[in-house]
């Protein structure tokens, strides 16, 4: 009964490849997020979708493209992977994105290593 799940858990790939990470939530939430956590544990918001609509698009290279086929899914596709993309990527969801309803539930993370 995992609330927020991500696949794969680990992803090792070569520079220049294209890869996708999938995220699903079964909490009935309206808002989903992608975060990048670097080697110093700093969490940076990348994207947020509310009811399948993109609402946050931080300064992220356009090699990163999120896709939300429905409210329960938010996938992240990365083109032309670079060494600097190596990080842990977390998916999260919240009931609503605003204020008090922004308690976010996180997935277990996907550790991406680019060689």
């Amino acid at each position: 009964d995992t609330a927020v799940s991500q696949t794969p858990k680990y992803l090792v790939t070569q520079m220049g490849n294209d890869k996708s990470i999938k995220c699903e939530q079964n909490l009935g939430h309206d808002t989903m997020y992608w975060y990048k956590q670097d080697s110093k544990k700093f969490l940076k918001i990348m994207f947020s979708y509310n009811n399948k609509e993109l609402i946050i698009n931080e300064t992220v290279p356009n090699r990163f493209s999120p896709k939300s086929p429905d409210k329960a899914h938010l996938n992240l596709h990365i083109n032309s992977l670079e060494l600097g993309d190596s990080a842990v990527y977390f998916c999260a969801s919240s009931q609503d994105g605003s204020g008090a309803y922004n308690e976010q539930f996180f997935g277990p993370g996907t550790r991406l290593t680019v060689l």
Binding site: V4, T31, Y33, K40, K41, F42, L43, I45, S48, N50, I55, I56, F90, A92, G97, S98, G99, A100, N102, E103, Q104, F105, F106, G107, P108, G109
Partner: protein, 112 residues
């Protein structure tokens, strides 16, 4: 825009000793405050949250935090830590803009 400062990057502590993790935020409007914990190789888990009402908030695993509006702080405390509390702790602030702003994190290492 809001920002979050966690004043301690690393906190070593002995088992059964108390611990306090400090968090300050900057915002000109009302905020909602959260503490999350990240155990090694896991995702983030909510410890507690302040939305309104009593300024002393109790969370899971014996943690509590106090919201101080005048000092714009939301410090996390636990009176007696266990080895299993070794983790990364994140303070976060939300307004009404779909963003949750995280602090840089505090690494707590509990030693026997």
């Amino acid at each position: 825009a809001q920002s979050v400062t966690q004043l301690d990057s690393q906190v070593p502590v002995f088992e059964e000793a108390p611990v306090e993790l400090r968090c300050n935020y900057s915002s000109s409007v009302s905020v909602y405050l959260f503490w999350y914990v990240q155990y090694p190789n896991q995702g983030l888990q909510l410890l507690l949250k302040y939305l309104s009402g009593s300024t002393l908030v109790k969370g899971i695993n014996g943690f509590e935090a106090e919201f101080n509006k005048s000092q714009t702080s939301f410090h996390l405390r636990k009176p007696s830590v266990h080895i299993s509390d070794t983790a990364e702790y994140f303070c976060a602030v939300s307004q009404n803009d779909y963003k949750l702003s995280f602090g840089a994190g505090t690494t707590v290492t509990v030693r026997a």
